[in-house]
């Protein structure tokens, strides 16, 4: 069973992601364990605390930009339990330069907000191992 770390400070969006993934047709997605973090600090703690397969990363977080976390992961600067997780940026900043910045920071995927339920499922399914 895979573990997804959802880094998102808005309750509304956390509820949405969980609800969408729980209803996914794909079993791997449906059964993935979702742990969440409302800030960069909380995300670092979770990443150190147990193996994570996929990080769904929001950009605007109370204590900084999500890309900071992506960079730290890409540079291997972070204390990890297990191997480096796949990182997907989930953001409403959708301009070409935003996308370029995310890829440059080491994100493996990019999901525009607003997204349809199917988009989210597809992105998660694509990046989950197995």
């Amino acid at each position: 069973m895979s573990t997804i770390l959802l880094v998102e400070d808005e309750d509304l969006n956390r509820t949405l992601v969980k609800a969408v993934l729980a209803r996914a047709q794909i079993a791997a997605v449906r059964h993935a364990e979702i742990i969440d973090a409302g800030s960069l600090a909380a995300a670092r703690e979770r990443l150190a605390g147990g193996p994570i397969d996929l990080v769904l990363l929001d950009m605007n977080l109370p204590d900084g930009n999500g890309l900071t976390l992506a960079r730290e992961l890409a540079a291997g600067e972070m204390a990890l339990d297990g191997k480096r997780p796949v990182v997907v940026a989930v953001t409403a900043s959708v301009l070409p330069q935003d996308r370029a910045a995310a890829l440059e920071a080491g994100c493996d995927g990019f999901l525009d907000k607003p997204y349809a339920a199917a988009d989210l499922v597809a992105v998660v399914a694509e990046h989950l191992p197995g």
Binding site: L12, N13, T15, L16, A19, V20, R23, N60, L61, P62, D63, G64, N65, L67, T68, A92, S93, V94, L95, D112, K113, P114, Y115, A116, A117, A118, L120
Partner: protein, 875 residues
Amino acid sequence: MGTGWSLVVLFAALMTFAALFVRSLWGYLRRRDPLQRDITWVFLPPTVFFVAAVAGALPGPLPSWVEPMAYAIILTQPCLTVRLAARLRSVPHGLELFVWLTWVFVAGARLFTGADPTDPVLALVVVVFLVGEGIAAALLFGKARRRTGANRARLTIASAATLAFGGMIALIGVGTFTEKPALEAAGRVLAMVSGLGYLFAFAPPRWLRRAFSASTAQKVTERLLRAPVESPEQVWQIYAEIMRVQTGADAVAVLMPRPDGQLATIGYSGPSLPTPDSLDNADLTALIRAGRPARLREGAPSVVAHYGDDLSDDFVTALSMPVPPDVDGAVLLFNRHRTLFRDEDLRQLAALGGQAGVLAERQAVIAAQRRLSDELSQSVEALTRASKAKSTFLANMSHELRTPLNAIIGFSDLMRLEEPDSDRRRVPAEWIEHIHTSGRHLLGLINDILDLAKVEAGHLDLRLAPLRVDTALIELLTGLSPLITTKQLTVKRDLAEVTALADRVRFRQIVENLLSNAIKFTPSGGTITVTTRDLRDDVVEVVVEDTGIGIAEADHGRVFEEFQQAGDDEGRRAGTGLGLALTRRLVEAHDGEISLVSAPGQGSSFAVRLPAAPIVRSVPADDADAPLVLLIEDDPQAADLLSAQLSAAGYRIAVAGSGESGLTVAGTTPPDAIVLDVTLPGIDGFEVIRRLKADARLAGIPVFFASIVDERQAGLELGASDYFVKPVDQAALLAALAQTLADRSSPRVLVVEDDDQVRCAIEQGLRAGGADVVACAEGRDGLELSRTGHFDLIVCDMQSTDVDGFSLMAAIAEDSAHTPVLGITAGIGADPSDAAPLVATAMAGGVLAEAMAGGAGWETLAPLLGRRPPSRKDT
């Protein structure tokens, strides 16, 4: 020590002075210049004296009269020097006479004592000589100080030489008397020094003259090239000014040939003159050829015609100024006194000046080009910035709109995935809440954006009215209490009873933004303090303070800008990023200001200052129809007295403490009459009435002055109905008010409406309000009537049967530009018979206002008419 060498020095001094004398005499004989003659005179006594001295030093006796005579002659030297100084500058009247009288006395005494003078006589001679030379030196030095460059140097040297000459006589006199040859020798050295000084000053060798004039020319050029020249035309003006300073002339004119050959003044520095237009070339050529200063009043008639009568200057020096490549200009130097020096030096100056002028002209052109290119690059920069700001704005908009849309699309998508149960789906109630909340957020965002655009375009239509700020705040806090309770915040209120002049809806928006920010950024259990108070100067302050996260000093300016939130781009975002920007714009639209005091971790305190509403007196409820009198008066005592008198007579009173607030009140609730003081803070009473009369809606309100200043005539000319000087005769004021209000005719209103029921309803409403109503059903008739009827207001149906309402309104508006036109239209499906409200849209003056037309009577129409109905009491 022998005196042989000092005799040689004496001889050299003699030769120097003799040479100076011969040279100046030669100069005078050649040119007959009176100045040169006076210079010659100065050198005569020393020459004679030294001849006597040399003769005395030679072996062999001299006749006994020689020495006293030599002394008598040398004593004239200070007198002649003073005389020379008087040619160069103004010398106090009587001073010259005084030195000559002294000379007569002293020379007489010396001659009388013969070959063997007594001590006192010798002492007297020395002292008088020293004093005379001192006076002459001081006069020359005084002149030198007012000059610059070479002139200054030469006059200073002349002054020093004169002093040295005095010292020389003193030393020689004392030396002879005490029989100390050393003193006498020193005197002779000083004589030589003085002679050389005079030589440099009055007959400088050519190399020295060149050095002087080169240094002056360099200064002129340097200053001209360094001068801040804006345009080529300015160059010659500046050149004239610099020449005036450098040559010490009283006035300088620069002339250039025009296409017709006449010389025209293109630069002038000196006492102000009627602008001379042109000069005849021939006059100037003659002057230039003369090569020396000409007396202005002799000859050169056109020069005199242009300059002479206005300048009291006697002397004009005309210099040709060749300007490369092939123009011949001229420089005229005007002097009240003769100038010491020949104009050969000045000529070189003028020639160099011409070249410098051309350079400066080119420089000015280059500078102008540079300025132009700077301006261009600045505007390119501004455009780039604007374009960048636009892109940023769009990017931010996209981001902000997508965030709530994410929840709306996401949750509704989830709903669609739920199993349908016939035509219904069972979904978690929470999702519906989420969609609703996000929808509201989206709407708020869009409203903010529209409001901002409106403010930006200057289309924000504020309905200013007195607003009790404390009450409005309590209402808002009550509305927000669920949020406050959820976060367990404490709200402290310190609300003074204050009334601002504000738009109710916009004020709520301002304060709601501040309060919801405070709630958002204050952690649970924190405190929010809301304060209202009156500040001086008609200002009301609302402060919202929280114990939240605070804002760094560096971000204080940015929080009020669109999409700029605390923290950098990489930092966090919360809220829409528009709230505070909009709040600031709204506050500014109220002529208010917003400020922030905050530091990270210290909480934030936002203070909004709005103009206070003018105090409006409450009136007994049964008297609500009484005519309203607006008192514009800054002295509270005077206002109290007047309002007591007027309310006793049955009027309703509004009081405004300044002209500006008075105008605002008159604009929002037009009074029936205005009583106006003249001396007011800010704009005065006369300006107030000017603005009232200039405003078509307010021009009809009668204005009465009540002031300590008796400016009756001025007041009446500005359109006042009457003018009362304080202390105001109460009976006269009341009588004038009553008379004026009774005299007013009812406003005339034209109603064009094809629906009989609606027309009757409007007619009745207007008649009840006291208007004269003319009504018609057909649009064509309405147009006809509007042209002939002189109406104060036209009410027009937008869906007239024969003519389309919009074209009708446009036609009417074009015909009667000053008559407000009110377009009314029935709501879709509304039935006028059951008194369903009509939505009326006032299109007067491009102002869009909504009003309920159900009772389209005075409440709606009066503001458009700018007047109130005559009350029952008056009719």
